[in-house]
């Protein structure tokens, strides 16, 4: 760790320029709540760190008619306390409230949680159901990808050398839409998920008009459910349908055994988390 250089700038274009020229191994750091742990356990071995936490361009929350743009370096605490996000994207707020402790949320950023691309990152399922798009910038270039295309595998994503996440654009949920984030961890706070899910849907005239569902911590990447929404859309939810949807869970997810839990338990837990949601709303 002794030769690690920290590069910090308060100017986005300057930082992108430096990044483009950088030939050493680097990592982007914002709050450091993942990076510092990875460094300490030698899971990453960069020669320098680019600190984006001082870039004001990445620290804004902008709300327009049907979407919200959240800067990648906005801290989780700031997102949680933002009244517009709470109102229009409650599922994201519930998910972020489950991340770590207040101390961690005061430093951790949305960009960091997504950039770290852990299958257990709590914000990611919420971003899935909010149809988030990830705005990526590099020197002289800008692109935007869907959240489900952004993450490629555990700790792998589409970011190329020189690129950083600038912001996320998420749907503004309608007042007739409802949502949910549920998590099972090894304890009630400061725990990484054994399984989690984000759920968003709208009922009209007792029929399911739309439904988004995603599962975290139960596969190499967060999983967007296709079969279950298909089952429900256009129908009136009833106990039979709920039973059937719960039985589909094991087909959609690919959990593993690890130190946090077993695959078998994860399937069961997720089925039950889903039942909890559906029972409540259908």
């Amino acid at each position: 760790m002794k030769n690690l250089q920290l590069i910090k700038s308060d100017n986005l274009s300057e930082l992108l320029e430096l990044l483009k020229k950088e030939e050493r191994k680097y990592n982007i750091i914002a709050g450091g709540t993942d990076v510092m742990v990875l460094l300490k356990e030698f899971l990453i071995d960069p020669q320098c760190l680019y600190d984006v936490s001082g870039l004001s361009e990445l620290k804004e929350i902008l709300v327009d008619n049907d979407s919200i743009e959240i800067g990648s370096a906005v801290t989780m605490s700031d997102i949680i306390s933002d009244s517009e996000v709470s109102r229009y994207a409650p599922v994201l707020v519930s998910a972020l409230k489950e991340v770590g402790s207040p101390l961690i949320r005061n430093r951790a950023t949305l960009g960091g949680n997504v950039g770290n691309s852990s299958p257990a990152g709590d914000s990611i399922p919420a971003l899935f159901v909010l149809n988030a798009r990830v705005n990526i910038v590099s020197e002289g270039n800008e692109r935007s990808v869907k959240i489900e295309d952004f993450i490629l595998g555990p700790r792998r994503n589409v970011l190329e050398k020189g690129e950083i996440i600038k912001s996320f654009v998420i749907d503004k949920m309608g007042t007739d839409e409802r949502s949910f984030f549920l998590k099972a961890g090894s304890r009630n706070a400061l725990a990484i998920s054994k399984a989690n899910l984000a759920f968003r849907f709208m009922l009209k005239d007792n029929l399911v008009k739309s439904m988004n569902l995603s599962f975290g911590s139960v596969g190499p990447v967060v999983i967007k459910s296709t079969m279950i929404p298909q089952l429900f859309i256009g129908k009136k939810p009833d106990p039979g349908l709920i039973d059937k949807s719960c039985s589909l869970v094991s087909e959609e997810i690919k959990p593993i055994d690890d130190f946090r839990s077993t695959a078998k338990y994860r399937v069961k837990v997720l089925e039950n988390l889903l039942r909890k949601c559906l029972d409540e709303f259908c």
Binding site: K2, F259, Y265
Partner: protein, 806 residues
């Protein structure tokens, strides 16, 4: 709060305390007595260290910076059991900032307070995964850690023993080849040629007859696995070999005097030439007792005389290179008559104590003789085997052997009650110890040892007085109960002492050797002294740092003994001080000392209170108008030891318990059907503490202890694989509960049957709240789902899997 004390009305103290503390917990109101005769004892005064701790200004080991300080990093082995063939330090020596690389080469001494089997560094072989192999001293910690990576060690791996049962096999490799030669205290010690570090055996009555008389039997094997005290402040030490051939040490420890004696012995110095400082401590819970890391750091520092060397454990080192708790397997059989009267208990405990046994030996002895808990067994055969394994050493952990072995007792009693088709409360009541009972150790109890039945009734009322909720769609509901008994596990010379001095303005300074680890002993000292001296607590200043150069001798701050023993020493010192003032006053007033009274402000003549002298006028002796002085400066010393503590006799019996605290615990839980998650809705504890000294703090002790044991019961375990490696030695994977996992409601009540030893009758309470938690929860799990569990932690995964099988 201190400022409130005068506002307590005579009959409303309990309610005031309750209002201050929140609606869920009753306090002190259950005995039907409110102790209005005390002015300071039993109140909730503010801790003198509170402001510094909440503002971050308290001074801990890692805050200590000294001139010329160097920093150490330690290499740990890749094998849990291996011969060291060679150590190549040449690359490390070339690294930037490196001052010296140190190994165990040439280290010939062993150390330990009970069994001298510890070495500061591995010499020829390594015996566990966290053992020190080599160290780098460098200009800063980062450079030291970088250089440690360059040390090359060649090992020849040896077979690894992880469980005591494997170490006991005839063909097991010996972890200590020469254990028979180790120095040890009388009455204990290793069995040469085996991996047994100590075998304790207790015989009471006639075990054969006891089982012959029995009509019903229950037996089982129970496992309480390794866990860590996991204090937020890790272990750390600074050692400085001065050029004048004295040693100075700072440590995050609760045994400064053991450290001083050990360093003095090993480096052949008069004890007065070794000075040990203890700054504020960020938690202990047991594992900073007995000497742990200090000899290792001293060995390192001895290579750079003139420079203080600092080392602070990483979390991994704190978990794997200091002391673990538990590692205990208990096999127990209980025999009883059909009416429920216990006739016999046979217990064999196997403790996997790790690679070194010095710190674990009393744990296993205590687990052995106190495994019967709060119950009287007329006949008992109790054994505990302390067994070497290739895992980190086991030492003190809050509860000290009691929660591990009484886990078995309390579970088996519930199972026996089912077998007898009897209420488990009736069964327990038939066998509770009380006035006239004889403990396993052969000690006869009297009323003043406490009343377990009263505690049990309080818990029963709190938890079992209402109907249990019926099973619903989401949850199973259950309730469980456990009795509790604990004694301190003392040792010869387990004393505490006190220096007290009156200042010229009538304020008082008290200096003792007890370590404040968060338990709040400073307020105990203040309140006890205030009560005896009859002066407000704010006029009593209690020591902060412990420094063996100034502090009075104390064995170590363990065994929940400070209030009892330390408080006793405070009372004695205060009484001596009052006597000194009277002596001077008698001279001045020209009366007999017996005719004088003291009221906190004056010493006065009993039959003419107008004839009086102020305390201030007596504090440094008395000065007449002409400047002539008489009398002595008022400063006193005192001590208190465990009365009549003895080592075990041929039957394993003796006065080793001395001071008993009885109690009861119980809980209401629900189990989420979907996930197997155990949710504790209500946890109740009641202890006969003899006397409550600080109402708010004692609640904190109990509430915190319950939480700690909920962690052990539901989620905490350090797991070692067959190679002796641990994969969850980090807080990310070693999970203890947070405040969000706390029971919805905790009821905490106290019975006050004054004891004979402690101040105003107070008994120990620090460790006791952890003891009945696991059996209460597992008894409640049976009540909820009809499944008996014999091992903790009971995770949601395990419970769900068993529920599905059913």
């Amino acid at each position: 709060m201190y400022s409130k004390w005068t506002e307590y009305k005579e009959d409303s103290r309990a309610e005031n305390a309750e209002d201050a503390e929140g609606k869920n917990t009753k306090l002190l109101n259950s005995t039907g007595r409110v102790f209005v005769e005390f002015k300071y004892v039993g109140k909730s005064i503010q801790r003198p260290d509170a402001v510094k701790k909440v503002t971050g200004k308290a001074y801990f080991l890692d805050d200590v910076k000294l001139p010329g300080m160097l920093y150490a990093a330690i290499l740990r082995p890749e094998y849990a059991h291996a011969k060291i063939i060679s150590i190549d330090t040449s690359e490390a020596e070339k690294c930037e900032g490196v001052v010296k690389v140190v190994t165990g080469k040439g280290c010939e001494f062993k150390y330990g307070d009970n069994i001298r089997d510890l070495t500061p560094f591995a010499v020829d072989k390594v015996r566990y995964i966290g053992e020190p192999v080599a160290a780098v001293i460098a200009e800063n910690t980062h450079l030291a850690r970088e250089a440690v990576k360059k040390i090359k060690v060649e090992y020849e791996p040896l077979p690894v023993l992880v469980d005591a049962l494997d170490s006991l096999k005839d063909d097991a490799i010996l972890i200590h080849e020469k254990s028979g030669e180790y120095w040890h205290l009388p009455g204990l010690g290793p069995k040469a040629g085996t991996n047994i570090a100590n075998h304790y055996e207790l015989k009471k009555g006639d075990i054969k007859k006891g089982f012959d008389d029995a009509e019903v039997f229950v037996e089982g094997e129970f496992v309480y696995p390794w866990g860590s005290s996991a204090a937020i402040e890790p272990h750390g030490s600074i050692v400085w070999f001065h050029e004048d051939k004295t040693i100075e040490c700072w440590s995050s420890s609760i045994c400064p005097f053991i450290i001083r004696e050990e360093l003095g012995r090993v480096y052949d110095l008069p004890l007065s030439d070794v000075r040990v400082h203890i700054p504020e401590l960020g938690g202990c819970f047991g594992y900073k007792s007995d000497i742990t890391v200090e000899q290792t750091i001293a060995w390192i520092a001895s290579f750079v005389p003139g420079h203080p060397v600092k080392w602070v454990a990483t979390r991994k080192e704190d978990l794997l290179s200091t002391l673990l708790g538990h590692g205990m397997r208990t096999r127990m059989k209980i025999g009883a008559k059909k009416d429920g009267t216990f006739t016999a208990m046979e217990t064999t405990i196997y403790q996997s104590t790790g690679a070194y046994s010095d710190t674990g030996v009393h744990v296993s002895i205590g687990a052995g003789h106190n495994c019967g808990g709060a119950y009287e067994f007329p006949n008992a055969h109790l054994q505990s085997y302390l067994v070497y394994t290739n895992t980190p050493p086991v030492g003190a952990y809050r509860g000290y052997g009691h929660q591990e072995s009484q886990f078995a007792t309390e579970r088996l009693i519930d199972i026996l009650a089912r077998k007898l088709n009897m209420s488990s409360f009736d069964l327990r009541e038939k066998n509770y110890m009380g006035d006239g009972s004889v403990t396993a150790l052969g000690e006869k109890l009297i009323t003043s040892h406490g009343d377990v039945k009263k505690c049990a009734d309080l818990v029963r009322e709190a938890i079992f007085s209402k109907e249990k909720p019926a099973e619903d769609d989401k949850y199973y509901y259950g309730r469980g109960f456990s009795g509790v008994m604990k004694t301190p596990k003392g040792a010869p010379f387990s004393s505490k002492s006190c220096y007290l001095k009156f200042n010229a303005d009538g304020s008082v300074a008290i200096n003792m050797g007890g370590a404040e680890v968060g338990q709040g002993l400073r307020t105990v000292v203040q309140q006890v002294a205030a009560e005896v001296l009859m002066i407000p607590t704010e006029k009593i200043k209690v020591y902060t740092e412990i420094d063996t150069q100034f502090s009075p001798w104390e064995w170590q701050t363990i065994g929940s003994m400070f209030t009892t023993q330390g408080g006793r020493a405070v009372v004695r010192a205060c009484k001596k001080a009052i006597k000194m003032m009277k002596k001077t006053a008698a001279q001045v007033l020209r009366v007999n000392i017996d005719n004088l009274k003291y009221d906190g402000e004056h010493v006065y003549l009993r039959n003419d209170p107008s004839l009086k002298l102020t305390v201030e006028s007596l504090a440094r002796g008395y000065m007449y108008d002409d400047g002539m002085t008489v009398g002595d400066v008022v400063h006193t010393t005192s001590d208190a030891r465990l009365p009549r503590y003895s080592v075990p006799d041929a039957n394993g019996q003796g006065t080793m318990g001395v001071s008993h605290t009885f109690g009861a615990q119980g809980c209401e839980i629900k189990i989420e059907k979907a996930t197997g998650k155990i949710i504790i809705d209500h946890f109740a504890s009641a202890f006969d503490v003899g006397r409550v000294i600080n109402a708010q703090q004692i609640r904190g002790q109990v509430a915190g202890g319950v939480m700690m044991a909920i962690g052990a019961s539901l989620c905490e375990e350090l797991v070692f694989d067959s190679e002796g490696r641990c994969h969850n030695a980090m807080f990310r994977k070693y999970r203890f509960p947070t405040i969000k996992d706390a029971p919805e409601k905790q009821t905490i009540e106290f019975v006050e049957t004054p004891g004979e030893i402690g101040p105003f009758g107070a008994r120990g309470i620090g460790e006791h709240p952890v003891i009945g938690v696991a059996p209460s929860i597992l008894n409640a799990v049976y009540d909820a789902v009809g499944i008996d569990f014999f091992r903790i932690p009971l995770t949601a995964e395990i419970l769900k899997a068993e529920m599905d099988k059913k």
